[in-house]
Symmetry: C2
């Protein structure tokens, strides 16, 4: 099932939230036309883009004739409902809740704290320098991933991936944090279960092809 | 359908995320036993509570014999799947995406920035005083609600509530921000559509009964 002519993704090579949607497209074999919004050049704050998403946030998804869809977690749920196979959520409602909870530990408890708008505000309004910003990033990556490690290591539902033996939106959100940490050259120690799951994800072409550094607009090294 | 003996909600009177779950319980007429975790006294960081939620975050939900469920948005989706009536999400997948997107503008783009752990870190590590903290809160409440106002005012799917004429998880998340703003005595100007929807929500007993100041443990005034 391919929606190529009708699916338009407003994206940027580096953003964690776009990466999530890109992996879901790959896993579900949905072909999207990516339209690159240069966040570093401020295109996400242009009047044209603000008509698509008043928050000025990436990504936004447009299926022809429909209003733009925004917010990456909402888009992931939409794609799951649009094209259920292969599933990115389990069928059991308790298991679905676990997967969503793990996804939110990453996409809600970590990611909003380290976005470009927060960096800009802390540096321009609150006088952070590079060292303070890096300490801020490290604090929230470490706090969140350490708590997640404890869950993943102790809960029997953890498998080859965050939940069982096939990738879910939890793994998509985990990898969306990991790829950003790499760009920022931040490491979190003592998370062996997470490290193992990251390796499992990296063996899947759907995750590899979505990597920020492989996208149009990414720096050449 | 009542699950009284088996539903245990670990809660605190003031937290925005607990409020969301409490409203959903009320709308769906699910009876839960609330177990109060005194966040101000640090009980959410006690070894006992960290066994339930390693993030030390409120709320957590336990249905007897099952592992604890955490993350309020995941719990809302779970309750919707557990007991679909009355629905807190539309049936059309595009409409569901819109409702989830609005919910996430509130619960993902605003709320994580103004939680107690962020306040504690900014004040104790980054030297914020009360004025800087209040400015930080105002910045993110205003940015997020102004963008949401633009959406709600311009999109035809907006009705008496954020989406159509019955409450959804979008309204629950909107009110979860509003009740917290009131506790902090913060107001955001020029959001007439939001103000109108807030008034509509406040006419529903399910929202009124969930208000922080009406919960056990709340200050008497």
């Amino acid at each position: 099932m391919v929606h190529a002519p009708t699916v338009e993704l407003f994206s940027y090579w580096r953003t964690s939230a776009t990466y999530r949607v890109r992996v879901a497209f790959n896993l579900k074999n949905i072909q999207a036309n990516e339209r690159f919004i240069n966040v570093d050049a401020g295109e996400h704050q242009s009047p044209e883009y603000l008509k698509i998403n008043p928050m000025g946030a990436i990504p936004a998804l447009i299926l022809s004739g429909k209003a733009p869809l925004t917010q990456s977690l909402a888009i992931l749920e939409f794609l799951e409902e649009l094209q259920p196979q292969p599933p990115l959520l389990p069928t059991d409602i308790f298991e679905r809740a676990r997967v969503r909870s793990i996804a939110q530990m990453l996409a809600v408890d970590i990611h909003p704290l380290i976005t470009p708008r927060i960096k800009k505000h802390l540096m321009h309004v609150n006088g952070f320098d590079d060292a303070l910003w890096k300490a801020w990033q490290s604090k929230w990556f470490t706090t969140g991933l350490s708590a997640l490690e404890q869950r993943l290591a102790s809960e029997s539902a953890t498998g080859r991936f965050c939940h069982g033996d096939s990738p879910t939106i939890a793994d998509i959100c985990l990898m969306s944090i990991v790829v950003v940490m790499r760009i920022f050259k931040i490491t979190v120690p003592d998370i062996p279960t997470i490290d193992r799951i990251v390796t499992a994800c990296e063996q899947l072409d759907a995750f590899v092809r979505a990597e920020p550094m492989r996208q149009v607009g990414a720096p050449s090294q």
